[in-house]
């Protein structure tokens, strides 16, 4: 029952307590700086990648969809990372690819968190509806993730919209569970009963009292899910199921694989850089999410 996102949350939960069980003053000070460092690294990575994506047309030396050199050229003064099988500049492909990979990650993450938070709010606030919703959530959690993703992508066709929708619709379950457990704690508190007896509607209580309290948790979830979504998009594109017209980092790897770049010296400039970018993006979001979760997840705080 471990989906990637759920497992990652679990991993964070797991990584935390040991670090705080430090009696000596020096190590406590060390821990604070370590947390700040973690956050700083994450923020730097993500900011840098977003800047590259936004200013892609100004940074990239060439149009990524234009034949600008001899195919399969090694790195040179004109092409820092060489060219691919049809003479596109790989560096420019990667710079513009940041737009696609980040856009898919952010949109899919947004969909995931909206669904997860809504389901979590309803399930946590209305116990009877909640048990039905959670049954459904568990089904989504158990379905084999990557194969299902592939099947859906194969049937629905290769487009950016489909990639975003499929990822967003499949990975919300662990977020829903987390939000639900938090909502259950909040809605059992006295002030909810007080508000009810003053005549407040359920809708009013959920939106005005409960939602604001889980909002920060949702934001933390969002950041973590974005990293996962970027990794998933890369896997899908790598299998040739991405949008053929919108080249992401995963698409670059797909072509490198199809053309056997990893069997030649070309792996160093055609395979290594896109994977590093995917890894850095995922890591950046994961680190920020980790820091946010430590701050906003009450479960981790009280432990």
């Amino acid at each position: 029952m471990v989906s990637p996102t759920q497992a990652q949350t679990q991993a964070r939960t797991i990584a935390r307590p040991a670090q705080r069980r430090q009696p000596r003053a020096t190590s406590r000070r060390l821990r604070v700086t370590a947390t700040q460092l973690t956050a700083a690294v994450g923020v730097t990575l993500v900011t840098l990648l977003i800047l590259i994506a936004v200013f892609a047309p100004f940074i990239a030396p060439y149009d990524p969809a234009e034949r600008v050199g001899r195919p399969f050229s090694p790195p040179s003064a004109e092409h820092a990372l060489g060219t691919n099988d049809i003479g596109h500049d790989i560096l420019s492909e990667l710079i513009f690819g940041a737009r696609i990979s980040l856009a898919v990650g952010l949109t899919a993450g947004l969909i995931t968190v909206v669904i997860g938070t809504t389901v979590g709010l309803l399930a946590g606030y209305f116990p009877r509806l909640g048990s039905i919703l959670m049954r459904f959530t568990d089904v989504v959690l158990v379905l084999p993730f990557l194969p299902l993703l592939i099947i859906l992508a194969a049937y629905l066709g290769r487009s950016l919209m489909n990639t975003v929708l499929i990822i967003g619709l499949l990975i919300w379950a662990s977020t829903a569970r987390l939000i639900r457990s938090q909502v259950m704690v909040i809605s059992s508190q006295d002030f909810v009963l007080a508000a009810r007896s003053l005549g407040a509607t359920h809708r009013h209580i959920i939106i005005r009292h409960v939602l604001p309290q889980v909002m920060l948790l949702s934001i933390g979830e969002f950041v973590q899910v974005v990293g996962q979504a970027i990794l998933l998009e890369a896997s899908l594109s790598f299998l040739g199921l991405g949008d053929p017209l919108q080249k992401s980092w995963g698409t670059v790897l797909y072509w490198a694989q199809v053309r056997g770049a990893f069997l030649s010296p070309a792996w160093a400039w055609w395979v290594l850089p896109p994977g590093l970018l995917i890894g850095l993006a995922t890591l950046g979001f994961a680190l920020i999410g980790f820091t946010l979760e430590q701050r906003f997840n009450p479960r981790l705080r009280q432990r």
């Binding site: 471990v2 797991i14 040991a18 370590a34 379905l143 299902l148 592939i150 990893f262 792996w267 995917i278």
Partner: protein, 324 residues
């Protein structure tokens, strides 16, 4: 009490299987286009009239939907996955030829990640907050962020092509005529890199679980008692801490089996390894829908089995879970 819980759990898994089967049934019929082509996985023009009539008849396309659904459900539950009109062979046969290879990869990878994850996790917890612990912890978090298929490609470039230590693709050397031990060595050499890649996918999770679990055991009363009795550090570690800390790890491992099974899709693709994951990839690129669907059901079954295993194993390992 526990029986009721188990019953509920089984019901849940049954529901998941039913949903997977229903998805398989519904997708080709919901998509725009000729359902016959989507069910057969080839253009209708490529089918002989007999084949067309046969599919229509077997699937019952002229019957009402609920009738078709029951026919499909019956076929799947009796293990009849149909026929690949593209490959011209029964799908069950194709799957049976691929399954052993995927099991070989998945189970070996599970063993490796268990061994490495547990040992490193125990060491990190034992020396927690030391430099070693920090290096391991951060290393695992970084490892968890890297795309596994990319690692596979790098391993091929470095260990297969540059250094020539391992073959770069396939499960055996074609037409080698190897027998006995030579054959086994050949299989192992081919499996080495895919298993390494697949293991790296699970090691961080096992490590983090083990480390956390060890850390909570470290503070337990019985450890203090053991220390007070003057038992050596090593003995405490091996006899008291590791067995107790292993419990959550076992659950994670059982669940990772299903996860690793799914992970073979990208990894077998990178290594051109003739397993189920590669089968799904080939079916997707060749639009061989019936094969894709059958493989998907098998993956679902694998995940469900690993969940069942975890449910069954846990109370047997932990008497406290039995009492509850």
């Amino acid at each position: 009490m526990t029986n009721a819980r188990h019953g509920k759990q089984l019901l849940q898994y049954g529901l998941v299987l039913l949903i997977a089967i229903t998805l398989n049934f519904a997708l080709p019929r919901l998509m725009p286009g000729n359902p016959l082509a989507l069910i057969a996985g080839v253009d209708v023009g490529l089918l002989t009239p007999e084949e067309r009539a046969e599919i229509r008849d077997r699937v019952g396309l002229d019957q009402p939907l609920h009738q078709q659904y029951l026919t499909y459900l019956g076929d799947v539950l009796t293990g009849d996955f149909g026929y690949s009109y593209r490959q011209k062979q029964p799908i069950t046969e194709m799957i049976m030829a691929r399954l052993p290879w995927t099991l070989l990869l998945t189970l070996s990878a599970l063993a490796v990640s268990a061994l490495v994850g547990i040992i490193l996790g125990a060491i990190a917890a034992w020396r927690r907050a030391s430099r070693l612990d920090m290096v391991l912890l951060n290393g695992m978090i970084v490892l968890d962020s890297l795309p596994s298929f990319w690692l596979g490609m790098l391993f091929i470039a470095i260990f297969a092509v540059q250094l020539g230590w391992f073959p770069s693709q396939g499960a055996v050397t074609p037409a080698s005529g190897y027998q006995g031990i030579a054959y086994a060595v050949d299989v192992m050499r081919h499996a080495a890199l895919p298993v390494l890649t697949l293991s790296l996918l699970s090691i961080p999770r096992v490590f983090l679980t083990m480390r956390y679990s060890m850390c909570s055991v470290l503070g337990a009363e019985f450890i203090r008692t053991a220390r007070a009795k003057g038992i050596s550090d090593w003995r405490i570690l091996v006899r008291h801490m590791i067995p107790n800390a292993m419990l959550p790890v076992v659950t994670v491992l059982a669940l990772r089996f299903g996860f690793a099974f799914g992970g073979t899709v990208v990894i077998e693709t990178v290594f051109s390894y003739p397993g189920l994951g590669r089968l799904i990839f080939e079916a997707v690129s060749g639009r061989d829908y019936p094969v894709m669907q059958a493989a998907f059901l098998l993956f679902t079954a694998a995940v469900l089995l690993s969940n069942l295993l975890a449910d069954w194993l846990y109370p047997r390992l932990d008497p406290r879970a039995r009492a509850a």
